[in-house]
Amino acid sequence: MLAEDNPNWGLETLLVVRNLKKHFNTPRGIVRAVDDVSFFMTTGETLALVGESGSGKTTTAHVIMGFYTPTEGSVIYKGTDIDIPIEKRPLWLKKEIQIVLQDLATSLNPKKTIKEIIEAAVKVHGWSRKIERLERVLELMDYLGLPEEYLFKRPTEIGGGEKQLVALARALAVGPTILILDEPTSALDVSAQSRVLKTLLKIQKDRGVSYLLITHDLSVVRNISRRVIIMYLGKICEVADTEEFFSKPAHPYTQMLLSSIPTMSEEDERILPKKIESRGEIPSAINPPPGCRFHTRCPYAMEICKKREPPALNIGSSQHLVYCWLYSQGNT
């Protein structure tokens, strides 16, 4: 989707990703991890990037962070191209785009105390006096509901949900505008999960932070995101508002994804689309299928799907885009 299609373009568009490609050269061939992906994000919204493993959602996030330089395409933040590797980014930019990494066991140093972990971020970003730093750390911990006695505990001594909150505190310490959340709840039990999600909602309400939420869990998407992007093998399949996404999923892959979720109540069952039985394996991103990448598993695949990549088609509201030949006028 082009940023110009957004009716609010220029007013509150925060981040634009345009025709982004990220390929990796490996001995076995080129991995097309992200292949021509475009989307935008507005101020204060939560945009969910959903997909299964190998869909390129984490790679996209890492390109935005500057961990990788894009092979092609651009990432534009507040009107400037930020195709700068992380080590060369100016401090203000690093402050404004922050990430909470997926694997908490490795992203929080087990030998440091919670105080040291949060304080490091506070220090790098300008608070030089020790007492000020401590105040700031305490303020953050209090805000996120972490008790004061946790200051001198280490990550291994606290629960998964609390670790996630510490990682959040560290990211919030510098006052980011965009926070990339990579699978924030995938390792958590239900009760810790709902605590973390509630905290995320509170932060957004109080501070207007925009979230780029990377997840495979659609019940999380349902509860905190405003818009959803579905990715499959490095491509976008569908973009929609959350409400519309659940009420009118359009792309066959989206429907398969939704109907694969095991539900625990009739109410949940009712909103899912008619069963499309999941079949086939997710192909390798090294030699992705030509045409629409989903055609090898799609129950509705036509001849054209095997040859040509589907364009973005508008259905329903102007915000609902689907990349599928089924919805193209000439091919029905």
Binding site: V190, S191, Q193, E267, D268
Partner: protein, 312 residues
């Protein structure tokens, strides 16, 4: 007589300094052909319970007291031969981590044949290979010959999980123990694996114990559910009844806190943390976190009460 019955099982883990009182008076029953679910948060003792049934606990784990009855015979007192027979030919177990369950330096062929030699006696190598191929075909693996010649790392996560299921089913003639059979799998692949397990279990007429913290999965796959909290069983009910009308405060909170698809709502979650197994709380182990705790909860372990639904 139930196929498997666990009665008043106590299991401790020991470290150099501490004793962890994990399973506390756990009882469970699986009838012929029944699919039973076991839900609870991580660390609630679900896997320990399964491993105790087969007596494959790690060395620091110890069964303190209780009975594990297999068709009425106490496996804890049975001879090694009898127990081995059950492990080889009656019960199959799908372990949690499909990569960890397969040895990375052996071909799939060697690993499957190893299992088959134990569960089928006296076949020729050719017959074993034929059987292995058939097993792989049963779990819908295309091109079983290639899979047999592969190493685990050459297969995708979904394929590895299918191999592990095939191996578990080879030795399962009566009971399948499935410990989180789809962790780390993508949703659409998970859906395929669940359908496969359902089909094969139905076809062979097996009983199953499905362990998971994913409530939706248990709701879909089982007849009856046990809910575990901190090493104790807190509730047992037919699956539909449990999800519709949970009785124990823990179950109710657990179900309520799970995010839903049909509505935008986040549950309250459960305050506090699971207890320290070194010093488990007296009385009901859930009382420190229970919103409805009373004085008696702190002193006495609640008895198992049978609840009869009254039609109104």
């Amino acid at each position: 007589m139930p196929l498997l019955e666990v009665r008043n099982l106590y299991v401790n883990y020991r470290s150099y300094w501490y004793t962890y009182h994990v399973l506390n008076d756990v009882s469970l029953r699986v009838s012929q052909g029944e699919k039973v679910g076991l839900i609870g948060e991580s660390g609630s003792g679900k896997t320990t319970l399964l491993k105790s049934v087969l007596q494959i606990l790690p060395p620091q784990g110890k069964i303190v007291s209780g009975e594990v009855l297999w068709k009425g015979t106490n496996l804890l007192k049975a001879s090694k031969n009898y127990l081995d027979g059950i492990r080889r030919k009656e019960v199959g177990m799908i372990f949690q981590d499909p990569l960890g369950a397969l040895n990375p330096v052996f071909k799939i062929k060697d690993q499957i044949l190893d299992v088959l030699r134990h569960s089928y006696d006296g076949l020729s190598v050719k017959e074993y290979l034929g059987l292995a191929e058939e097993l792989l075909r049963n779990v819908m693996l295309p091109d079983p010959v290639r899979v047999l010649e592969s190493y685990p790392f050459q297969l995708s996560g979904g394929m590895r999980q299918r191999v592990v299921i095939a191996m578990a089913l080879a030795s399962a003639r009566s009971l399948l123990l499935a410990d989180e059979p789809t962790t780390n799998l993508d949703v659409t692949i998970q859906d395929q694996i669940l359908r496969l397990i359902n089909k094969l279990v139905g076809k062979k007429g097996l009983s199953m114990v499905l362990v998971s913290h994913a409530l939706g999965m248990v709701a879909r796959m089982t007849h009856r559910v046990y809910v575990m909290y901190a090493g104790t069983i807190v509730e047992e009910a037919p699956t539909r009844e449990l999800f519709k009308d949970p009785l124990h405060p823990y179950t109710a909170l657990l179900i309520e806190s799970a995010p839903r698809l049909y509505i935008k709502r986040l549950g309250e979650g459960i305050a506090g943390n699971p207890p320290d197994y070194r010093y488990p709380p007296p009385g009901c182990r859930f009382h420190p976190r229970c919103p409805r705790a009373m004085d008696v909860c702190k002193k006495m372990k609640p008895q198992t009460l049978r609840y009869l639904a009254v039609d109104t």
